[in-house]
Amino acid sequence: MIDLFTILTKGGIVLWTKSFTSVTNNPIDSLIKDVLINERGDSTNYIKNEYELKWKFSNETNLIFVVAYQKIIQLTYADELLNATQKAFLKKYSEEIQNPLDIENFEFDEEFTNLLTKIEMKDNESRKNKVQRSFKDTEAYLSTREGSQKKLNKKDESSSEDEEMPSPTFAPRSPRTGRKSPKFVKKTKTKTPKSPKSAKKGRKWDDQITAEEAEALDFSKKDDIEKSYSAEHLVDREAMGQRTKDGMYDVDEMQEESEDSDEFDEESEKQPSGKAFNFFKSITGQKVITQEDLNPVLVNMKEHLINKNVAADIAAHLCNSVSKGLIGKKASGWKGVSNLVKIEMEKALRSILTPRTSTDVLRDIFAAKKKGRPYSIVFVGVNGVGKSTNLSKVCFWLLQNKLKVLIAACDTFRSGAVEQLRVHARNLRALEENAEVDLFERGYGKDSAAIAKDAINYASLNNYDVVLIDTAGRMQDNEPLMRALAKLVTVNDPDKIIFVGEALVGNEAVDQLTKFNQALKDFSGRQNPRQIDGIILTKFDTIDDKVGAALSMTYITGQPILFVGTGQTYTDLRKMNVKSIVQCLLK
């Protein structure tokens, strides 16, 4: 009934494997790449082509047990087989498994075959019983005297069966299952109040925006825009990216935070750490970690993450997957359980925040330029998050790199939106010598998809390198507007779809991103719909150390944060520094 059973190390070395048919397309590699590496600790099965896979980690030995079978058969005993095999294998090789590479050959075929036969027989047995029972379960039978007597017993049976049903899992990024997580109920917006003044030292953008400058950028309010002016004061020359030796400009990276004291450690240390005996065991390296040991530390950790503005569901899920990775491990030396949790959490955070593909947008743009076509980027998001402002920051950066940019004003909805961009375009032209940037506009009320199309055509005819498409802000629940956005994307197939989101959002981030992606999928009418490709996180200057939104957003989409907006001048655009975000989250 099963196709393949494999025992491998986390390092990727197969110790023992048995296949019953020839398995094609290496579903185990896909399992590792799609699920195991992406920290989706809560999913319990994975479907790839015609196969369904289940797996089990053995943390104490760093082994993974994987079983694969045809997805069309409802294999009921996969978990049982995994558990039994793990037990038998670890029993047989309890000593040797510490250095698995020193063993010539793991001879396990016989034991495995025995196990499998036993479990399959048991399964057949219970199947037979079920068939019999289902006959007896018919209405006719129940109406008989014997049947009515058995009614009570039957109730018991069925309820115990229910417990074996797999519980719905929280797997927001799983593209394969496509199931929507039932836990994604809309949460009320819990914005953290803006802290009046962020107290972080060393950040360049602090205290830098004067009221005057802020007003100068907020053009939607200004009506004297025709007035002649110098835009020089909008740029902090010192905060500008560096020109590389090739004459390229790079966006400055955010400054790394200095490592402060470990608040979290102290917090968790205060937790009652159980009996003194346990403590002694843990320092002598004998203690095997159990769920009970982890619970108090994880409760703390979850609380801590939520305080950092990580969406609650995601914090819970992360803690869950960390605990799964630790149960069974030995707490060794002086590392207490809480220390191990912290190390494990740091690994998880780091791998979530680390992009899974290249984030070198400039490289992509030059590749398109070589092919002689304009590179198009569309900016999407809810109202007032900073789409237009950050579009112009990106534009400023592109201009520094001597690219010819066309801004397409596709926010035909909010009054003042086009004028805002017109002013930005003029500012930018005034700031850079020989800057080639123009605005493509068609006024208000028109179909934005068509305008974007015209803009791209105009750009290729007139040798623009990049088209930046501004769109109207829309709430994720506004179906007509979401449909319009999906149309814009479908019609124009832009090179990048960038979601602009505020760093202030907490739980709301989950809802926004899932719904934007869902709408792009549902309303596209295409077989392979586009999804959000990257994120710009704005207003980073206003959140102090509550950087949780960065984690929530990358977690949900699996997409990188391309830039963070750190203020209101054109130079306030930074590359996110993964290390410092991780430090900040754990601090």
Binding site: V14, I28, M248, T354, F366, N577
Partner: protein, 239 residues
């Protein structure tokens, strides 16, 4: 008075002891840190890093899957001088996990960068980006760490020869350094903002201070000239 004298002696002994311990600890720490004897195996997913690790360790050809954690060991190379114990680490090639190698570059003696020559054309950009990151790494360039580029999977008919791979890499690095020379990529202390090669010349590996060699290999075959012995020779040379 007596009490005082005793106290002074105790304090003196204690402080000497503390100084001694501190000295030993410092010596040990710095000693360890300066001992560069680690060979790291890098490259993108499925290039054959774990396969190479297994060949080096006990000349085994085993089935492998994508690595989630690194494989690390101290061992004499299979069928080589027992005295020479190498510290070898094979890092996962997955984009999300590869950053781990950065912790080890300060103690790295040599880098083996494995390439799947059969899928190189398809993965050219990803391969080059990773290699670029390594070449631009502060410790790799400052310490002029030797780099071996192993063009693996030569048993496939469509595998590119090493000369072709070398020129393709040079062209692509030439493109990359114009978009990348400064801190667009992660700007840890590990990464250096130096420009790779000479400024007004197309990039060539010979322009780098590091010694960079290319070899062809096929790690899965029992073939006598599978290239594994050349890799071992290179490691012994750089030991």
């Amino acid at each position: 008075m007596e009490m005082n004298n005793n106290l002074i002696i105790i304090i003196a002994i204690a402080s000497i002891a503390i100084l001694l311990i501190a000295a030993i600890v410092i010596l040990k720490l710095t000693g360890n840190r300066e001992k560069k004897d680690t060979f790291i195996i890098t490259g993108i997913c499925d290039s054959g890093k774990t396969s190479l690790y297994l060949r080096l360790r006990n000349d085994k050809v085993m089935e492998t899957h994508t690595s989630i954690t690194e494989n690390e060991g101290r061992f004499p190379l299979a069928q080589e001088d027992e005295e020479k114990v190498f510290h070898v680490i094979d890092f996962p090639g997955h984009y999300k996990l590869r950053y781990k190698y950065q912790d080890f570059t300060p103690i790295t003696k040599g880098v083996i960068f494995v390439i799947d020559s059969a899928t190189f054309i398809k993965n050219e950009r990803e391969v080059t980006e990773y290699l670029y990151e390594i070449l631009a790494n502060k410790y790799i360039s400052e310490n002029e760490v030797s780099i071996l580029i192993a063009c693996n999977k030569q048993d496939y008919l469509i595998a590119l020869p090493k000369e072709r791979i070398k020129t393709a890499l040079e062209n692509e690095i030439n493109n990359l350094r114009s978009t990348r020379a400064a801190g667009v990529e992660e700007q840890d202390e590990d990464n250096v903002d130096d420009f790779l090669g000479y400024e007004n010349e197309a990039f060539k590996f010979e322009h780098l201070p590091n010694q960079i060699s290319f070899i062809e290999c096929e790690l899965k075959s029992g073939n006598a000239n599978s290239g594994i012995s050349e890799i071992k020779d290179w490691m012994v040379e750089n030991f």
